[in-house]
């Protein structure tokens, strides 16, 4: 239920990551299904790995509101930095994504019968990273999981949370039919920068508030 309820926020947190990334995939629904599955699979792995950590550290975390604020603030600032790096990295061929996209497009254009094979590395990396990138709903879930009596229950909680949030990612499949233009990518990157500003501001002000008022 929590996963379903926080789904829109998961989209808010992961959306700007998933959206531009999906947009650079070949313009095919089937390819999107595969890539999204890999992404979500990696995200689940990230969740479960983190569930264990948060459960072990979580009891103390859940008890201390101040510690929680520090961590929330820190995580949001980190998320902002991550988004900025991500937005800045896109246009450069060295990150691999752009080059791969070009190859895929060539493959599709040249031989429509041949199945393009986008490498799954990007999906795995991004999925795992969004899985552990401590987006706010994830933290809420983390705090609740930390209060569960056993590690198994925490893992189970996160698995169910994951299923709830995953439902919200399905609309991204429709991006498979959206036409790719460089403008899409630029818009996605600009949105990532704006979101970074937002997370930077909220995280930063939380940290400053804690530093001043304790």
């Amino acid at each position: 239920m929590l996963g379903l309820a926080t789904g829109p926020i998961c989209l808010a947190s992961c959306g700007p990551v998933v959206l531009p990334w999906m947009l650079v995939q070949p313009q095919r629904v089937r390819s999107h299904v595969r890539q999204l599955s890999i992404f979500l699979g990696a995200r689940l792995a990230g969740y479960l790995a983190f569930a264990a950590v948060i459960w072990l550290a979580g009891i103390a975390l859940a008890r201390s509101g101040t510690a929680r604020s520090w961590i929330m603030g820190g995580v949001q600032v980190l998320l902002a930095v991550g988004l900025l790096i991500y937005a800045a990295a896109w246009p450069h061929a060295r990150c691999g994504f752009v080059r791969r996209r070009k190859n895929d497009l060539v493959q599709i254009d040249a031989a429509s019968t041949a199945t393009p094979k986008p490498r799954p590395t990007g999906a795995i990396a991004l999925g795992f990273l969004t899985g552990i990138n401590l987006c706010p709903p994830f933290l809420v879930a983390g705090v609740r999981a930390a209060q569960l009596p056993t590690l198994a229950a925490a893992l189970m909680f996160f698995a169910v949370f994951f299923v709830g949030t995953a439902v919200w990612f399905m609309p991204f499949l429709s991006l498979g039919v959206v036409r790719r233009t460089p403008s899409f990518l630029t818009v996605a990157r600009m949105a990532a920068v704006l979101l970074a500003c937002w997370y930077g501001f909220t995280g930063g002000s939380l940290l400053i508030e804690k530093a001043i008022y304790g």
Partner: protein
């Protein structure tokens, strides 16, 4: 790559595009419409309102006549649009001060649903309303005595107007765009000539950002943090560091995007490079029947149209393809400025440049009717408010 953008005022075609008789005949339906729209104002008591209504009927009819007579659209539309942009805040602020004594919205008024609804919120409402049936705005759904601009009324109005004008909303309806159009009209020449064409993608990014974040935070993020027009309408009362920062952002954005940059670039910089509602409204260009096209046989690629476009809705490629970009708001500046009559009004489905004036007329009757109905009534109210302030007996 930054493109070189020059802006010159649209050149005047021969003033006698049509005979006076034909122009009067074509204006007659619009004059009757204006009379019809303001009949209720004359039934209400209040001499000031009557004067306001009368002036607006004359103003709107005269402008339409001049559009018919000279064949120019942008040139005359601009007078209406700038008047709307400048007078709307006057009337709005006066009514706020009369009702609550301040331009700021105190928390009790938000709680009682007394915040007038603004169409800028619409894109942000869609996701939360679709998913949870919740409206994330401190107004009231049905009109009340203390808040006639309710959510249902304003969304209904927006839907109806959008069906008719689509993205031309930004040229004939929006009461904010005229402020920057006014500042952009002030200088003779542009002071900043180079504008990065990627800037026109920023409104889309802001749209994506505010829609997604509003759904996550359950609050209208744009209104809380980014709207430049809060400076001249209403804003949350400043009572903390956060609200002070918000106010600082509003004023900075207003000064930068609505006053200084339009003056320096002769562009509507807020509309072209910031407004997410404008981007959202661009989507309706897909379903609206009217558009601007370019007759490639007559076009000499002089880029006069491109430089005259206030929102950078033209690129060299789009002109080569004979089209505008998605954010064209049908202001008509490019058509007015084209010396070869290659930029033309067009009705989708018909042959380009075959009957451009017919397409223009069909478009203008709808758009001007909506402008008279919506903007005209705002103008009439503002004028009556101003007359109320004058030391007349």
């Amino acid at each position: 790559m930054a493109s070189r953008v020059l802006t010159r005022p649209p050149a005047l075609r021969s003033p006698a595009f049509r005979s006076i008789g034909r122009s009067v005949l074509l204006t007659l339906p619009m004059a009757l419409w204006a009379l019809l729209m303001f009949t209720p104002s004359f039934r209400q008591p209040g001499r000031n309102l009557h004067i306001g209504a009368l002036l607006v009927i004359l103003f709107m009819t005269a402008l339409f006549f001049l559009m018919m007579r000279t064949g120019k659209t942008y040139r005359w539309r601009r007078y209406f649009f700038v008047a709307l942009g400048l007078l709307f805040p006057v009337g709005f602020i006066a009514s706020l001060v009369a009702v609550r004594g301040t331009m700021s919205i105190p928390i009790e008024r938000m709680v009682s649903g007394d915040t007038p609804f603004c169409y800028m919120v619409i894109p942000m409402l869609i996701l939360p309303a679709a998913v949870t049936r919740t409206i994330i705005f401190p107004g009231s759904i049905l009109p009340t005595a203390s808040n006639p601009h309710s959510i249902a009324i304003m969304i209904g109005l927006w839907l109806a107007l959008t069906l008719v004008v689509g993205k031309a909303w930004c040229s004939y309806v929006c009461f904010f765009g005229g402020i920057e159009e006014g500042f952009a009209a002030l200088p003779k020449r542009m002071k900043i000539r180079k504008l990065d064409p990627r800037l026109r993608l920023v409104p889309w990014a802001i749209l994506l950002f505010v829609v997604v974040l509003s759904a996550a935070l359950f609050e209208p993020v744009y209104c809380m943090w980014l709207c430049p027009f809060k400076t001249v309408t209403e804003y949350p009362a400043v009572h903390s560091v956060t609200t002070a920062i918000q106010m600082g952002i509003f004023i900075t954005l207003f000064a930068g995007l609505v006053v200084v940059l339009p003056y320096l670039t002769k562009k509507r910089t807020q509309c072209a490079f910031f407004c997410p509602f404008g981007a959202f409204q661009s989507l309706f260009n897909k379903i609206n029947l009217f558009e601007i096209r370019f007759d490639r046989e007559k076009c000499v690629d002089c880029t006069l149209c491109q430089t005259s476009c206030p929102t950078m809705a033209l690129s060299a490629e789009s002109i080569r393809e004979g089209k505008t970009l998605l954010n064209c708001m049908k202001c008509g500046a490019c058509v007015d400025s084209c010396k070869k009559s290659a930029a033309v009004w067009h009705l989708k489905g018909t042959k380009v440049a075959l009957k451009p004036e017919r397409a223009r007329l069909l478009f203008l009757y709808g758009a001007w009717a909506m402008a008279t109905m919506f903007g005209g009534s705002i103008l009439a109210n503002s004028i009556s408010t101003i007359i109320g302030f004058l030391p007349l007996r």
